[in-house]
Structure formats: structure tokens, C-alpha cells
């Protein structure tokens, strides 16, 4: 009876999880393998990828595979610099998102139940309009003739500081990144904070903890799982984002995303583009593993 039950359970499990697994296999694993293969090949005569059955095999050994693109990646310090800069931008965006999202998530989680869903809806409302349109809107907001720019420069002028251009700068990139990804930080934080037992805060206060101690010793440590998932949801997409630096950044504000996009759509060097993608994936995996290790259940018991 029990045995049959578990068997039926197992079949049901596979039936339910099968389609998404298959989807991931086809649309994630397969492309990744193709990319790995591409990165080991060489570009065709007119860019893109050389035909699989190209005569180049004569040059590049029996299987027509080469590590050239990897050598190229490691030989030029420029790429390491862009990687580092991208990581810095991603880290800064994540931190700013966290600082901005935490109070908001706390406010929603502690407000009356009937208002919470409405507030969450307001947080995700920007998704209702097109992403590119929203980024272009920032072009206007940060543009030299905008009220915002005038205000900032008037403010700086009052302190005797020369006027600045906001658009096409690292500042504009950061603003765009934070703006786009803020909801991804708010939602997991809210989901976590909303589950906190208010009796714990009462208990802490009863035992002598002031407002700051209640936050630092109870709310914050209990919210760490939410902080980590929010950080992952911001950090990783920011790393690969090319639209924001493309539209809001200056010529010097190239990030990994732009570099990769360029290899495929501009320079048409597909093997090198693939190599960059793989390096990015590896870096992200390493960081995720690190975060997962810090957030492991033994370090932060969930309940």
C-alpha cells in the first residue's frame, strides 16, 4: 500500500516536473552547450561562425577546435577591467537597491493587511509599461534641459560647484540600473518580512531592547534569506544588462553586457562573444555559490 503510494507519487512528481525540466533542458542546457562549442570555434569569413565542415580543420587540428578566444580574453587587461567595472556597478546597484527597498518592504509588511496587496501592486506597476520606454524616459529626466538637472546644478552652484552633466555618465547608468531592478529587491524582502511573527518584536521590547536593537537583533537577522534572494535577483541581471548603459551611459560606460552584445551584433565575432558569455556565467555561478554558502540554513535558521 505504502509502496504503491510512493510509486504513484513518484510518477506524479515526474509528470508535474517533467515539462519544465524538458523546457530547461532544451532552452537552457542545449544553448549553453552550443555556446561552449561556439567559443571553441572560430569566426567565418564574413563574421558569425565558420561552417562546421569548414576546411579550416586543416589549420585548427583534427576537430577544428581552438582555445584562441580564451587566450585573447586573458591576454588583454581591458576585458578584466570591464568585468571588474561591471561587478562594481552590479554591487553598487544591489547595495543601493537594498538600502532603498528595505524600508519600503518593511513599511508594506507592517501596514494593515488590506493595504498590503495594493502597495505590492504599486511596486510592480512600472512593469506594465515597456522597459525601453521607461529607460528613454530617464534620458529626458536626466537630460541637460530637464527640471531635475537644473535643480541639481542650482543646488551645486549654491555650494560653488561647477555644473555637471547627468546624462551619459556612470551616475545615469546607476540610476537606470537601480530604477529597473528595485522591485526585484522589494518583493523577496517583503515576502520574508511579512512572515515575521510580531510577537518576537514584542518579546524583544519586553526584554529591554530599544527600537534599534529590535531591528538589528531580530528583524535584520531573520530577514537575511530575503536579503540574499533579493541581492541575487538584482546583482545577476545588472551584470548582463546592456540596454541601460547603451541608452544612459557615455562612451566609457561599457559593461560586460554591451561587450557581448557587440560581439554578436556589431563585430560579429561569435566565438569571442560566446567566450565572454561563458566567463560571465562562470563568474555569476561562483558568486551565487558563495552567497548560497553564506545563506546556508545552518548559518541562518529560517524558523
Amino acid at each position: 500500500m505504502i509502496k504503491g503510494n510512493t510509486k504513484a507519487n513518484r510518477t506524479a512528481k515526474w509528470l508535474v516536473s517533467g515539462p519544465p525540466l524538458l523546457f530547461l533542458l532544451v532552452f537552457f542546457v542545449a544553448p549553453s552547450l552550443i555556446m561552449l562549442f561556439t567559443s571553441l570555434r572560430f569566426p567565418g569569413e564574413f563574421g558569425g561562425l565558420a561552417p562546421i565542415a569548414a576546411p579550416a580543420e586543416a589549420v585548427h587540428g583534427e576537430y577544428g577546435l581552438t582555445l584562441e578566444t580564451y587566450q585573447f580574453f586573458f591576454s588583454d587587461i581591458l576585458y578584466a577591467e570591464i568585468f571588474l567595472k561591471s561587478f562594481a556597478v552590479a554591487a553598487a546597484s544591489t547595495l543601493i537597491c537594498l538600502i532603498m527597498a528595505y524600508p519600503l518592504a518593511l513599511l508594506i509588511a507592517r501596514s494593515e493587511k488590506r493595504f498590503r496587496n495594493l502597495m505590492v501592486l504599486l511596486v510592480v506597476l512600472p512593469f506594465a509599461s515597456n522597459f525601453l520606454i521607461r529607460i528613454y524616459a530617464w534620458m529626458i529626466i536626466l537630460g541637460p534641459e530637464s527640471v531635475f538637472s537644473h535643480f541639481i546644478n542650482a543646488l551645486l552652484g549654491a555650494f560653488g560647484i561647477a555644473p555637471v552633466t547627468l546624462l551619459f555618465s556612470p551616475f545615469a547608468v546607476l540610476v537606470g540600473m537601480v530604477y529597473v531592478h528595485l522591485p526585484f529587491m522589494v518583493l523577496p524582502l517583503y515576502t520574508n518580512l511579512e512572515k515575521h511573527d510580531p510577537a518576537l518584536l514584542d518579546a524583544a521590547q519586553d526584554l529591554g531592547a530599544n527600537a534599534w536593537q529590535r531591528f538589528w537583533r531580530v528583524t535584520w537577522p531573520l530577514s537575511l534569506p530575503g536579503v540574499f534572494s533579493g541581492a541575487a535577483l538584482v546583482f545577476i541581471p545588472v551584470l548582463g544588462m546592456f540596454a541601460v548603459p547603451d541608452i544612459l551611459g557615455g562612451t566609457g560606460d561599457i559593461l560586460i553586457g554591451n561587450l557581448i552584445k557587440d560581439q554578436f551584433l556589431g563585430t560579429r565575432d561569435w566565438p569571442f562573444g560566446s567566450t565572454l558569455s561563458i566567463m560571465l556565467t562562470l563568474a555569476v555561478l561562483a558568486i551565487t555559490a558563495l552567497a548560497a554558502w553564506f545563506a546556508r540554513p545552518a548559518a541562518i535558521p529560517e524558523r
Binding site: 511573527d197 510577537a199 518576537l200 514584542d202 518579546a203 524583544a204 521590547q205 519586553d206 526584554l207 529591554g208 531592547a209 530599544n210 536593537q213 537583533r217 531580530v218 537577522p221 531573520l222 541562518i300 535558521p301 529560517e302 524558523r303
Partner: protein
């Protein structure tokens, strides 16, 4: 001077009065219990003592000092919550150390005090566990240890034993009495279980609809309930309509409809002609086989209508000629014995002239 003085405290939610003009004074070292049915305002009163809520009227004084401007974290009062509210991200030892850390105790002192507290609740080897790795009773003991470790002036306990099963509950009651005695900390204990209140407390305030109905020692609450609500709420009691025929200093003579005269203990403020009820506890009623009329006071014949066997005792429900039902209780002291009478048996019930109480409200 009383340690805690609650003076005419009232708390309203909208037009609903949760706590209604309550005055209680609690002495240092006392085990004081607030007893009452669900929703009578016990938790509301406790939250005001702890400082989580403020009275709309009246005052709460600790050591003679009005607490109104003192937030919960500044009051030398700790609470044991019904849900325990242990911090899930801290070990048992860290949970117990929490109030000491907040008070700025030195690390060495914290260490020894936590060890002592763990010993006191017999959890010496559990310091490194997390709360979710403990049983209900163990969590409960951690909550006690955490509440007591910093030696508060007052420990408030909001139905702390409510979530435990009967056997564990009894064990914890004994532990609680011992802890209170050893530490000499004043306890204000909330429960809606009357037997728990009777077993644990030095004094009990019986509450109903935001008001204190009676405030007294357990034996007086049980033996001399002040009114119908208290009589009904505490223990089992049989009630019959009665009218006062004679109010002598030594006793009352009551007339019970279609039954005759009954003698009851005298009570202050009762006049001839007052209408009310005669209330009598099952264990005060003697039940016997003699079914003939005898000219004795408080002696009546009736018929067994049913019985309730609960192991140690059996309660017999006897119907009197006037249709009133009265309960009598007999211990099953002989092994294997479950009952002495069958339903339908003619029996006599009687009680001493100083048993029973007349209640006129």
C-alpha cells in the same frame, strides 16, 4: 506599599470596554492569577501592565510610581508569551542571554547567569540547540528561564501552559510553583482554567466582561463565591431558586420552591424577602439509599437521573420532587468500583447546614 497597584483602570476599543474600572493591588512575592473566560480582558490588562498598551483611564503604579511614561523596554517587568516567542535565529543560551545583553551585563556575568538559568529549568545540556529543536515543554522552560534570568520585579505569564497536554501541564505547574518560590519573583498569571488557578495562586481575581467579579484566596473563591458568575465559573455547582425567609446572624433560612425550607450560612447584606439562588457543590452533598422522609434539615428525597464516571469519582445527578437537579459526588475508593447507584434508584440527598451559599446576584 503594594508592588503593583492597578487603580481604576479602563481600556476601551471603540465603544467596547475591554477592561472596565479594574482596581487590583499585588504584593511583592505573590503568585497572583487573573482568571476569566475568553475575551474578558485578561490579555488587555496584562499588556497595559507590560506597557504595550495604555489605559484610557486610571493608573498603573509599580513601587508607587506611575508607569504611564515608561515604555515596555524600560519597565522591570518581563512577560512569558503564550506562543513562547523564542527567537528562532538564536540558540537557547542566546535567547536566555538576550535580556542580560540588553541590560549591558558583562560577558562573564552573562555566561554564569545563563548557565545558572539553564540549570534551574533542567536544560543544562540544551544551551546550543535552536528553539525549533525543542519539545513544547522544553520551549516553555526556556521561556521561563529567559523571563526570570534578569530578575524582573514582576513576571507576567499569559496562559503559558495553554499549549501543553494535560500531563505535561501538571508537571509544569509544579515547576512553576517551585520557580516562583525559589526566585521570590512576583508572578501575575493569566489562565482561563479554573483548576490551574486554584492550584497555583496565592490570590485570584475572577474577571468577567472587563470587570473583576471577585478577588480572594483560592479556597474562598471556591467555597464562598460572591455571585452567580463566580459560582458557575469555578468548579461544578448545583443551583436552585430560593427566597430568604429568615436572616439570622448565625444562618439563613431559605424557601426553595416546592421543596421546603433550607438552611444556609449567613451572609452580609441579605434581608428577608431577597430572591436569589442556593448554590451547592457536588462534594458537599451526601447521597444515600435511605429513601424515606426524615425530619432533618437540608434532607430531601429524589431519584437518580444519571451519573458521570470520571475515574476517581462518580457524579450522580439527582432529580428532586420540585424538578430541580442536584449533583452529588462519591469517590470510587473501592478498586474496580464505578458506581454505587443506578439510574432510577430512589435516594436521599442531604448537606450540612453550613454548606451551600445563597447568591442574590
Amino acid at each position: 506599599m503594594a508592588l503593583l497597584e492597578i487603580r481604576n483602570v479602563t481600556r476601551r476599543f471603540g465603544d467596547f470596554t475591554a477592561v472596565d474600572n479594574v482596581s487590583i493591588s499585588i504584593e511583592a512575592g505573590e503568585f497572583f492569577t487573573l482568571l476569566g473566560p475568553s475575551g474578558c480582558g485578561k490579555t488587555t490588562l496584562l499588556r497595559m501592565i507590560a506597557g504595550f498598551d495604555l489605559p484610557d483611564a486610571g493608573q498603573i503604579l509599580l513601587d508607587g510610581k506611575d508607569m504611564v511614561g515608561t515604555p515596555p523596554e524600560k519597565r522591570p517587568i518581563h512577560t512569558v508569551f503564550q506562543s513562547y516567542a523564542l527567537f528562532p535565529h538564536m540558540t537557547v543560551a542566546d535567547n536566555i542571554a538576550f535580556p542580560l545583553k540588553m541590560a549591558g551585563t558583562t560577558p562573564d556575568e552573562i555566561k554564569s547567569r545563563v548557565r545558572e538559568a539553564l540549570d534551574d529549568v533542567r536544560l543544562s545540556n540544551f544551551g546550543n540547540r535552536f528553539p525549533q529543536e525543542l519539545s513544547g515543554g522544553q520551549k516553555q522552560r526556556v521561556a521561563f528561564a529567559r523571563g526570570l534570568v534578569n530578575r524582573p520585579r514582576l513576571l507576567l505569564l499569559d496562559e503559558p501552559l495553554g499549549a501543553l497536554d494535560a500531563k505535561l501541564r501538571e508537571e509544569m505547574q509544579i515547576e512553576l510553583i517551585n520557580l516562583q518560590k525559589e526566585r521570590g519573583v512576583t508572578f501575575v498569571f493569566i489562565t482561563h482554567a479554573q483548576n490551574e488557578a486554584l492550584a497555583l495562586s496565592h490570590r485570584i481575581a475572577v474577571m468577567n466582561q472587563g470587570k473583576v467579579e471577585q478577588l480572594d484566596e483560592p479556597s474562598r473563591i471556591y467555597g464562598f463565591p460572591k455571585n452567580r458568575f463566580v459560582a458557575d465559573f469555578i468548579g461544578k455547582i448545583s443551583i436552585m431558586n430560593a427566597q430568604v425567609l429568615e436572616a439570622a446572624p448565625s444562618h439563613l433560612t431559605l424557601s426553595v420552591a416546592e421543596l421546603g425550607e433550607v438552611t444556609a450560612p449567613s451572609k452580609e447584606g441579605i434581608k428577608v424577602g431577597d430572591a436569589g439562588v442556593l448554590a451547592i457543590r457536588p462534594e458537599q452533598v451526601r447521597i444515600s439509599h435511605h429513601a424515606e422522609e426524615v425530619e432533618l434539615k437540608n434532607h430531601f428525597i429524589g431519584k437518580v437521573r444519571g451519573f458521570l464516571y470520571v475515574g476517581d469519582v462518580t457524579t450522580y445527578i439527582v432529580e428532586l420532587p420540585n424538578g430541580a437537579r442536584i449533583e452529588a459526588l462519591l469517590p470510587n475508593s473501592a478498586p474496580g468500583r464505578a458506581k454505587f447507584f443506578e439510574a432510577g434508584d430512589p435516594v436521599a440527598v442531604s448537606w450540612r447546614h453550613d454548606a451551600g451559599t445563597f447568591l442574590n446576584d
